[in-house]
Symmetry: D2
Subunit: 357 residues, 4 copies
């Protein structure tokens, strides 16, 4: 129950520390006979990769995915698919200064408290480098979903105090990939980039929000009680490093509406039952209703700042944590493929679960 | 994988339809030798019970809990604890008018789509009556946590557009149980009650937010990757009927802060390492750090309104869903013990998980 | 992880102590829309019931199954099916003489060691009364399997030293239900009955073997590595009270053959690939090959004998455990429906698992 | 639910095909702070390794274990431990002659039926090469158990028709490792080796039995209903390639005893409650009682023989499977460390499970 697995039928187990030999993932339960294009998987890896633009960390990692098992002659064979990424640009020496110190709002203190020891290099297992494995696995899940017409697309909707308030229906989401902050609204994107540049110069960091839209979902995904589709999406998203909140459909704002305004009326659209509005976010009673699924995920400002901070060490003595290293001033541009990957994993799992109903 | 179980070691399985014979729960994995006070469990049941005040549904259900197994001479014996509540005031005839109609923003359409048939009486399994079982199980979890000094307390912080903005630290949370809306701020409580009364007269409904604070948590609960403590809390909360969002610690607002503002600095307080602020919400890297855990859960306005609504029937023909029956105009006052129960179940499970680390 | 659940998709959770209020089972994951005949379920209950003949215990329990949830208008609706049997003829006073003593080869000592306390009445949770719940759940699984043409049939093949050595292919298995010992070979049945009568008079007990044959299984059930079909059958059988061994196909005797004798050659029988022999017992590489599945389960002699036995009490002092009460002199006649139920549960689960491959 | 994981808290996931890049294992849930000696792990790998003697297959594989994660400065850190073994001497061309043929009593036919395609090279995932991963993981489990004084020791007790009938209590089990067949009785060992040599010359194969003894187990391991300690051992053993049966304690022979003979009487041995006999095999009611645990596992004769055999191909046409390649004439000598590994994994898991009771 150490929690390194996710999913029930389409199930992944990730492993690896930030500065260990490698990070990787075992995917169990992917249906057999699925054609896999590893170049597509690599593209998502590149969207997550450090050093991809001047507003991300400047660490250099190529993050090439190696297939260890489960794919034969370009197809899945029903056995576990293992994907491995070797760690390359790990400068463990960079971390000797915090070997016995607890960085504020990091996991150093809680790991030490839980395990009695820790691999302090680069945050060890608590590093967001673990998400390399998620994106790789998500790439396989996306290809499975694509065969069913399901598509997952994320984008940045908030950076710091700059919000994109245009609803997703009025945006061309493909624009998101045309700028380095991954915001589908060019004007907002420019402001977001400027905000990140400003904060980076100040040695500080920003938070943000990633929005995500899933189209093409059939009716019936999700289990009605504890494993509601949105409950599993919530868990998936909140398991990503640095997340602080999740909302779907009308979300927290929906609270302020009346029932008569919020209810989504059914109508027959050319033989298909659809709703006229979609405050439900594509999910009713925990089960997909065939409309678009959409949700938002809040990320806190990055905890590693380029400023000295007061803290304590393992002995409980006051100390200073120096601000140094190569880090992201804002994680949301690189978080987009991670959010997509986790969403794809949830959907793929529920597609398979629904086959047993 | 039909999703009627929750938790991994302290694990519950709930059963029962709204208008079936009974609803109940099997709790597996509760440690042996725990003294159980069933009257305390019943008190939480009464906080959830319909008809407890004039702002809730007027259905009459006593919801008395019967113990079928697992407790011998007042103590748990390590075997499954089964708690049963018979359904009493189920007026199935009240639902014959919607037998083949899909109520807007209910689960009728998605259940029919997923299963090909459904128990339409009172919403069947999709009814919030299922939460009877959660509150009963949560009552056991609370008593387990109490032996460790952990306490879970929820309250209503928003009804419709009325927000309680005072932080929980500045409130006496015990005040919540002194009014029928369960808000610890008397002035806000009055406004909330008035708002619910107004909307009920109009045959409409409101949404709201339940906040929850957990005190006394030791350092080390939560697993660092997928089963982060806040990820499991998010799933637990989002599995409750009618929820739309979850946030913990600084939440969505934390996005707008800079890292230098958001970071919680460590200090030595009389030999104990604590943080000076608590934007982390008591959880760092997915693991409890010993500070208070706090979070907020958004509930949509109740879907059942006392107004006629356009919809379609199973054949896809346009129809009208009549507004009738006995329903809550706003669920959050009764949702407080449900939120607490789910939080207690998550914590109890992670206490046991941590024992294997 | 307290182990009161079995199965992964078609999953049961049993509860209840021998002398508590009731024993029961929650079945999660049974497909929706399955027509259920509860009288058929009751028939299996009656085959397991105490007091059914003069060679079983004379306790009187009607073991009527009550449906609490999951079945509506005669069909499963996809929600948990809960079946309850109230305890009736529980004479708890009969057990006061062993309240603080450890009966030889019972679970008294190990329960006390594990949990620090125990419900000593009738063995509490360690009683074979728990299998009431398994037989009830197995009755539902059998009806699911019947829709696919899969049939499970058990019979007694050994009682004490009396062995039925005729292979199952040369027997009419339906004969088993025509005698009280459930042996399909009338001559052997008579000898077995006589042996049980003799041992009962002597206040002693016998062991035995239950054989089981599963016909109509499609190719492809079972998962190839840890959850091999025979591995799950082995676990299922060894989880039944008083079992000591499991073998399938050629079993322990197969060890003595050479590979050239043991290999099952494939041939094309009217367009269907079959094997000419079936030492594999219908399972190759953990996956069903479409041939009959057959296996054998060893049961030890009943531990409760009508003779005084030396033992120790909770304080570790020497004591005598008196031989009294109403117990079976040999469990295998009543174990037949239990073996069938567990086999049906394994098969039903693997049918659903295979749908996700 | 594809079944490539085993265990619930101390949980392994294995991956890799016989002729793929590598086989490996992720161990999740191993307690932190455990000192690991990888040379000890390698020793068990060498006991399983092909080519270790003239009575095993002559394939040459060094099977060196690489640590990818989870161990830092010689200790476990509570994160997943990943162990990898690259495939070396894989001669895939050796298998082109069976690319579209079904080898008798292999998994070719059932894999093809289940998945619609298969990696035919060396049996792919159905190859016993998968057990490389189990032995590596078992090596970690053994080191965890050693800290608690628990020791697992296997040996060969039957090869073909040659049985070692001396009870384990009368043997010096350490002798097993002094001969190539791993039988602790030198005279029997010689006969077994001769029998294997004879059958190999004839191009045929033999089956056998591996016995296993676990000492030092505390009272209380095992969960009382479905996850009885012997049920989990049964599943573990029956999940090993080529197994046909499992028995523990008195096993199938125990059936023939009377209750008065079979019952293990308790007595107080210098303050410790022990049984005077141990037909229970150290397990009562599914829970360890502190006595030695012992069990036996039957292995069928190896299916790959050096003789031509009739079969069919994927099209259902009659064909001949040629006898060629490098294979074991009898697997039991190499199966000993596999049996031990699986037993160690079961015990380690139940040690952790018991901590939550």
């Amino acid at each position: 129950m150490a929690g390194n697995s996710f999913g029930s039928i389409f199930r992944i187990t990730t492993f690896g520390e930030s500065h260990g030999e490698a990070v990787g993932v075992v995917i169990d339960g992917c249906p057999s006979g699925l054609a896999i294009d590893m170049e597509q998987v690599q593209q998502d890896m590149d969207r997550r990769r450090p050093g991809q633009s001047h507003i991300t960390t400047q660490r250099k990692e190529t993050d090439r995915v190696e297939v260890l098992s489960g794919i034969f002659e370009g197809k899945t064979v029903g056995t576990p698919i293992t994907l491995l990424v070797r760690n390359e640009d790990a400068k463990s020496k960079d971390y000797s200064h915090i070997k016995d110190k607890f960085r504020p709002s990091h996991a150093d203190f809680t790991y030490q408290g839980k395990y009695g020891l820790r691999d302090y290099r680069g945050g060890g297992r608590s590093s967001a480098r673990e998400t390399v494995a998620r994106v790789a696995a998500g790439g396989i899940a996306k290809q499975f979903l694509a065969t069913l017409g399901v598509k997952v697309q994320g984008y940045v909707s908030t950076v710091g105090t700059i919000d994109l308030t245009v609803p997703y229906q009025d945006l061309d989401l493909s624009v998101a990939e045309t700028n380095i902050v991954r915001c589908p609204h060019p004007e907002s994107a420019e402001q977001m980039i400027a905000a990140i540049e400003a904060v980076r110069k100040a040695g500080d960091t920003l938070g943000g929000v990633v929005s995500c839209v899933i189209t093409g979902t059939p009716v019936g995904l999700g289990e009605p009680v504890f494993d509601k589709l949105h409950a599993d999406l919530a868990k998936a998203m909140m398991s990503i490093n640095a997340t602080k909140g999740f909302e779907y459909g009308s979300g927290f704002e929906g609270v302020r509406m009346k029932g008569s305004e919020h209810n989504d009326k059914f109508e027959n659209q050319s033989g298909q039952i659809r709703t006229t509005t979609n405050h439900s976010g594509g999910i009713q009673g925990g089960i997909s209703n065939g409309m678009d699924i959409y949700f938002r995920v809040a990320f806190k400002p990055v905890a590693t700042i380029m400023q000295d901070q007061d803290s304590v060490n393992e002995q409980g003595d006051a100390t200073t944590v120096q601000g140094k290293g190569r880090h992201d001033p804002c994680v949301v541009p690189r978080a987009v493929p991670i959010v997509e990957a986790m969403a794809a994993l949830v959907l793929a799992d529920h597609v398979l679960r629904d086959r047993t109903t």
